[in-house]
C-alpha cells in the first residue's frame, strides 16, 4: 500500500527535475549567492555576515517560489490535463495520491535546497573564512527553511484541491504573508480596544502558520546560537500543521467530482 504514494512521489519529483524552470531558479539562486561574494568584498569585515544573509535569503526565496508555483498546480494540473483519470482508475486511494504528490514536491525542494546549500558553502569557502562551530546555526536556518517550505507546500496543495492555480497562488501567498506577520497581527489586536477585533486577530493568529519562529537567518548571519528547544518546537509544530492541512485536503479532494 505504501508503495503507491512512493510511485506518485517519484513521478512528481521526475516531473520537476525535467522542468527547465527548476534549473533557471537554481541558476538564479546560485547567481544571488555568487553576487553576495561581491557585496561581501566591499563590506569590509562583515563579508561572512553578508554572504550568509543573502545566501540564506536566496535559498528561502527560491524555495518559496517553487513550493507555491509548483504546489498550486500539483492537483489542478492533473485534473485539467486529465492525467489523473487513468491513475485513479487504479487501486489507489485519493489520499495516497495526495500524499505522493506532497512527498514528491517536498523531495524536490529538499534536493534543490541541498544544491543551493552546497553553493552557499562554496561561497563561504571562496572568501577564505574557516568553518567555525557557530556555522551550525546556518544548518539550523536551512532546516527551518525546509520546515517552512513543508508548510507552504501543504497549504498550496490544499488550495490546489479545489481551486484554480491562479486563485490558489493568491490564497497561498495571502496565508504566507499573514503567517509572517502573525505575531504583529495578534499584538495589533491586543492593543485595540475592540473585543471583536481582538477575537478576530487571535483566530487568525492560531489559524495561520506562524512563520515568524522559522526565521533565524539574522542569527545565523551573526553566528548566534539558536535554542535547541526551538528546533523541536518548530519540528513538532510543522508536523502537526502539515498533517492537519493534508487531512483537510483529503477531505475536500475525496468528495470531488473530476469533471
Amino acid at each position: 500500500m505504501n508503495a503507491l504514494p512512493g510511485a506518485v512521489a517519484i513521478n512528481t519529483f521526475r516531473e520537476a527535475v525535467r522542468d527547465r524552470v527548476l534549473y533557471n531558479l537554481i541558476f538564479f539562486a546560485l547567481l544571488m549567492i555568487g553576487a553576495s561574494i561581491l557585496v561581501g568584498q566591499i563590506s569590509i569585515g562583515i563579508d561572512r555576515m553578508v554572504i550568509v544573509n543573502l545566501g540564506l535569503s536566496a535559498i528561502s526565496l527560491i524555495g518559496l517560489v517553487m513550493a507555491i508555483f509548483i504546489g498550486v498546480s500539483l492537483v489542478s494540473k492533473e485534473i485539467e490535463k486529465r492525467t489523473l483519470y487513468s491513475l485513479l482508475a487504479r487501486p489507489i486511494h485519493r489520499w495516497q495520491f495526495l500524499a505522493g504528490k506532497y512527498a514528491g514536491l517536498l523531495l524536490t525542494l529538499v534536493v534543490n535546497t541541498a544544491f543551493m546549500t552546497v553553493g552557499l558553502a562554496g561561497a563561504l569557502f571562496y572568501v577564505g573564512r574557516p568553518f567555525v562551530r557557530g556555522d551550525l546555526t546556518i544548518l539550523i536556518a536551512i532546516y527551518f527553511i525546509l520546515l517552512e517550505l513543508a508548510l507552504v507546500t501543504a497549504i498550496s496543495l490544499f488550495f490546489s484541491c479545489y481551486s484554480s492555480p491562479m486563485l490558489s497562488t493568491l490564497f497561498t501567498v495571502g496565508v504566507f504573508i499573514t503567517g509572517v506577520f502573525a505575531q504583529d497581527i495578534r499584538q495589533a489586536g491586543d492593543l485595540s480596544k475592540s473585543a471583536a477585533v481582538e477575537f478576530i486577530t487571535r483566530v487568525i493568529y492560531y489559524l495561520v502558520p506562524n512563520f515568524h519562529n522559522f526565521n533565524v537567518i539574522a542569527a545565523a548571519a551573526h553566528g548566534e546560537a539558536v535554542p535547541f528547544g526551538l528546533v523541536w518546537q518548530n519540528t513538532l509544530y510543522t508536523a502537526i500543521y502539515v498533517v492537519l492541512v493534508l487531512l483537510g485536503a483529503t477531505a475536500i479532494f475525496s468528495g470531488r467530482d473530476l469533471k
Partner: protein, 319 residues
C-alpha cells in the same frame, strides 16, 4: 448463460449548472444495465449522451447522485476492485515528460509486480501495441494515434478481467483503428470482458456481442447490433462501371452519382432486380452491391425525436 460481470442499477448523475442560481442538469438518468462475463459490450450514443459520465462513475472519478454499480460483484466504491479493471479515458493525455516505457513502468507499479516482472510486462505490452521502437521517446513527441496505443497498453498491462475503453478508435487512422479492433478481439479471446463506448456504429457492428444505446442520458435499448440495425435496411447500394462511350440508362441517370469513373445508385429492395437488368443491358460491370442501413446519425435522430415526443406528451398530460 454467462453471469453478469457489470451490474448497474438506477445510476443517475446530476451536475450543478449556473453560478448564482444553482440548477441541476441530469447527465445520466436511472441507468440499469448488465454486462455478461466475456462479452464485448458497445455503449453507443451521440456526443453528450452520457457515455463518458457512465464510465467516469464506474471508475470512481465522479460520484453518483443515486443508484449503484458493481463490477465482478464488488461495489465501485471498493478501491481494491480497481486492480481487476483497466480503463482508457476519452482523448487520453499522459505525462508528456515521460517516455512510453517510463509511463508503462509507472502504471505497472500500481499492481503487485516485482521489478523483473514489471520490466517484462512493459516490454511485452509496448510490443503488443506496436510501440517497441518508440519506447524511449518522450510522449510529448507522440502523435494522437501513438498516445491512444500507449493508453490501451496502460489499460491492459496488469491483466485486468474487465476493460473499459472510452472512444478507443477516436482520432485513429484506418490502420490504427484496425489494430485497436484486433486488440479488443484478442482480449475477448482471452476471456476478458470489454466495455467500450463509441459513437461510430460500424465499430460496434464489427466487434460487439451486444450494444446499449444511450440518448439524452437515458438507455433506449440493449441488444445485439444485428437486432438493432438489420430491420432498418432502407435500400441497396450498387456501385458499377460502364464501358467507354456507353451512356447511362436513362431510367437510372436521375439517381446515379459519378465519381472517379464509377457510378453509385441506391434503389429500394423491390427495384434491385430491375436495376440489375438495366445495368446488364448496357454491359455495366457491377463492382459491389450492399444493403444501405441508416447512419448512426439517422438512427439517433429518430431515437432523440422519439424521446422528445415522449417528453412533450408527458408535459401535455401534466398541463
Amino acid at each position: 448463460m454467462a453471469a453478469a460481470i457489470i451490474e448497474i442499477e438506477g445510476l443517475t448523475k446530476d451536475y450543478p449548472s449556473g453560478f448564482w442560481r444553482k440548477r441541476w442538469k441530469r447527465s445520466l438518468d436511472q441507468l440499469t444495465l448488465q454486462v455478461k462475463d466475456g462479452e464485448i459490450f458497445g455503449f453507443l450514443g451521440p456526443n453528450g449522451a452520457g457515455k463518458t459520465t457512465t464510465l467516469k462513475l464506474l471508475m470512481g472519478l465522479i460520484f453518483p447522485t443515486s443508484g449503484t454499480a458493481r463490477i465482478r460483484g464488488r461495489s465501485i466504491e471498493d478501491v481494491a476492485m480497481h486492480g481487476e479493471i483497466g480503463y482508457l479515458p476519452e482523448h487520453p493525455y499522459f505525462y508528456d515528460y515521460l517516455t512510453a516505457r517510463e509511463l508503462l513502468d509507472y502504471y505497472a507499479r500500481f499492481s503487485d509486480y516485482g521489478a523483473a516482472e514489471r520490466n517484462a510486462r512493459v516490454e511485452t505490452f509496448l510490443k503488443r501495441v506496436g510501440l517497441a521502437s518508440a519506447g524511449n521517446v518522450q510522449l510529448r513527441k507522440f502523435s494522437k494515434g501513438m498516445l491512444q496505443r500507449v493508453g490501451i497498453a496502460q489499460a491492459i498491462l496488469h491483466d485486468p478481467k474487465v476493460v473499459f475503453l472510452d472512444e478507443p478508435m477516436s482520432g485513429l487512422d484506418p490502420v490504427g483503428r484496425r489494430e485497436v479492433r484486433d486488440i479488443i478481439l484478442e482480449l475477448k479471446q482471452q476471456g476478458k470482458t470489454v466495455f467500450f463506448s463509441t459513437h461510430i456504429l460500424s465499430d460496434a457492428e464489427m466487434l460487439c456481442d451486444r450494444v446499449g444505446v444511450l440518448v439524452g442520458g437515458k438507455l433506449q435499448g440493449v441488444g445485439s447490433p444485428r437486432e438493432m440495425v438489420d430491420v432498418e435496411v432502407q435500400s441497396m447500394e450498387i456501385i458499377f462501371e460502364l464501358p467507354k462511350d456507353r451512356p447511362l440508362p436513362s431510367r437510372l441517370s436521375d439517381q446515379a452519382k459519378e465519381a472517379g469513373g464509377r457510378y453509385r445508385i441506391a434503389v429500394s429492395e423491390a427495384e434491385v432486380y430491375a436495376a440489375i437488368e438495366q445495368l446488364r443491358g448496357c454491359d455495366a460491370r457491377i463492382l459491389s452491391m450492399a444493403p444501405v442501413r441508416p447512419t448512426l446519425e439517422d438512427y439517433f435522430i429518430r431515437l432523440v425525436g422519439r424521446e422528445r415526443a415522449a417528453t412533450h406528451e408527458q408535459e401535455e398530460v401534466l398541463r
